[in-house]
Amino acid sequence: MAETVTDPELPMLTLADLGVLRDVRDEDGTVVVEITPTYSGCPAMGVMRADLVHALHRAGFADVDVRTVLSPAWSTDWISPAGRRKLAAGGIAPPGDAPVRRTGPVPLQLGPSRRTATCPQCGSADTEEISEFSGTACKAMRRCRVCLEPFEHLKEI
């Protein structure tokens, strides 16, 4: 049941598709659900929590405890293959591989972003980034050079 709850801001995806739903288990009659925020400031966490509690109550589970887990930090690599297909079908380019975490200082990236994305409208790979920040913290804005449509890209973290 918890797996059917969708993301408030990406309603084509379930929380399970997004990798935000980390665990659901029974602890002495209480349904314990673990979720993890995408970004520290993700304003949708409260709604996710409320939607999960409500869905499980409606399914007949009276005792529900939704817990936050912060570690390990969420990564776009946790988005499922089905989630990536649903994002593209919904007009949002799915993320590529998350940057590999190395030890030592985080390298500075002064050039234009090396990220690439395929246009979700026409399928062309010839796209450019307009801005690294978009309507939600997790997305960037891009434009297709072939069909000229702007689109959003879930950026890799």
């Binding site: 709850v5 520290s40 409320a50 500075l108 801005s131 913290a137 973290i157």
Partner: protein, 302 residues
């Protein structure tokens, strides 16, 4: 699976009781997280350290959001607000961590019981109880000065949080690990603006250089440990900010040189006045605005 509106969903989850109107009562950021303090760590020091780092994020967030409706282009307005939102999230987690170890000061007496710790700390402390650095509270200046400050503040914070991933406090370590990829975006974004403006027109160069000259003296108080930081560094919880000096200076120097800007002499490190609660009149004005509605209508619900 949604209620008709977000508000109905939240209201339902809280048994139809009203929500604390100006903060975040329906969504405690550490709900369900094990907040036990590991043995050998002084909770008062840990809380004071989290306040320091949380206040840095909260105050810089407030400064960045002052650009909303004022930025030179719409995309930039969205970008600065997004950076602010990430910082607000980090602030909420850190203030909640401070509250979880009982570091609330007089804010708890001023706020009513229904107001969560993080909000009591944000809305019901007076200016001299804030512990952020002078760098983040300084007024924005023009856009050139704003991106120079964002570059410096995010370079410092990224270098710090990257090390705090190894903190002996698992909650602080987890908050730091979440912040690292966010700050990487902020720092790179600010660095590209400094490049574009510094190596742009004579006017953009002149104004960005003026921004550098205004921001540089504020770096002086970022690299001297307070007593709390010294004790917590010895306990494996914090990082001595002096350790960040080379990395931050190298990053800033690289960006400025590539941007054809003159790198001022590195300021002599000095103890931070901001970390001791001494702040400018501009900060009082900023805080008054941030807190005005919450203080005028204490414990209001919607």
């Amino acid at each position: 699976m949604h209620e008709e509106t977000v508000y109905e969903a939240l209201d339902h989850a809280h048994g139809g009781e009203g929500q604390w109107a100006f903060g975040t009562g329906f969504d405690e950021p550490l709900a369900g997280v094990d907040t036990t303090v590991p043995e050998g760590i002084d909770p008062a020091d840990l809380g004071a350290y989290c306040l320091m780092l949380g206040d840095d994020a909260l105050v810089l967030c407030q400064r960045l959001t002052q650009w909303v409706t004022n930025a030179p282009e719409l995309e930039e307005e969205v970008a600065l607000a997004n950076c602010g939102l990430d910082l607000l999230g980090q602030a909420r987690l850190l203030l909640a961590r401070a509250g979880s170890v009982g570091v609330l000061g007089r804010s708890r007496e001023r706020a009513t019981a229904s107001i969560p710790d993080e909000d009591a700390l944000a809305y019901f402390r007076d200016p001299d109880e804030f512990r952020h650095s002078g760098l983040v509270e300084a007024p924005n200046g023009d856009f050139g000065q704003t991106v120079v400050r964002l570059l410096a503040a995010s370079a410092w914070r990224l270098a710090l949080l990257n090390r705090l991933r190894e903190s002996r406090d698992p909650v602080l370590a987890a908050i730091a690990a979440k912040g690292v990829p966010e700050l990487t975006y902020h720092r790179d974004h600010a660095a590209r603006w400094v490049l574009r403006l510094g190596d742009g027109t004579p006017e953009s160069h002149r104004r960005t250089q003026a921004g550098v000259d205004a921001v540089w003296p504020l770096l002086a108080d970022l690299f001297t440990a307070t007593d709390v930081e010294t004790r917590l560094t010895a306990a494996g919880v914090a990082v001595d900010p002096a350790e960040l000096t080379d990395e931050v200076r190298d990053v800033l120097t690289l960006v400025l040189e590539r941007a054809t800007l003159t790198v001022p002499e590195w300021p002599t490190p000095q103890p931070s006045r901001g970390r001791a609660g001494e702040h400018s009149a501009e900060f009082t004005a900023l805080l008054t605005e941030l807190q005005s509605t919450a203080r005028e209508h204490p414990a209001a619900t919607w």
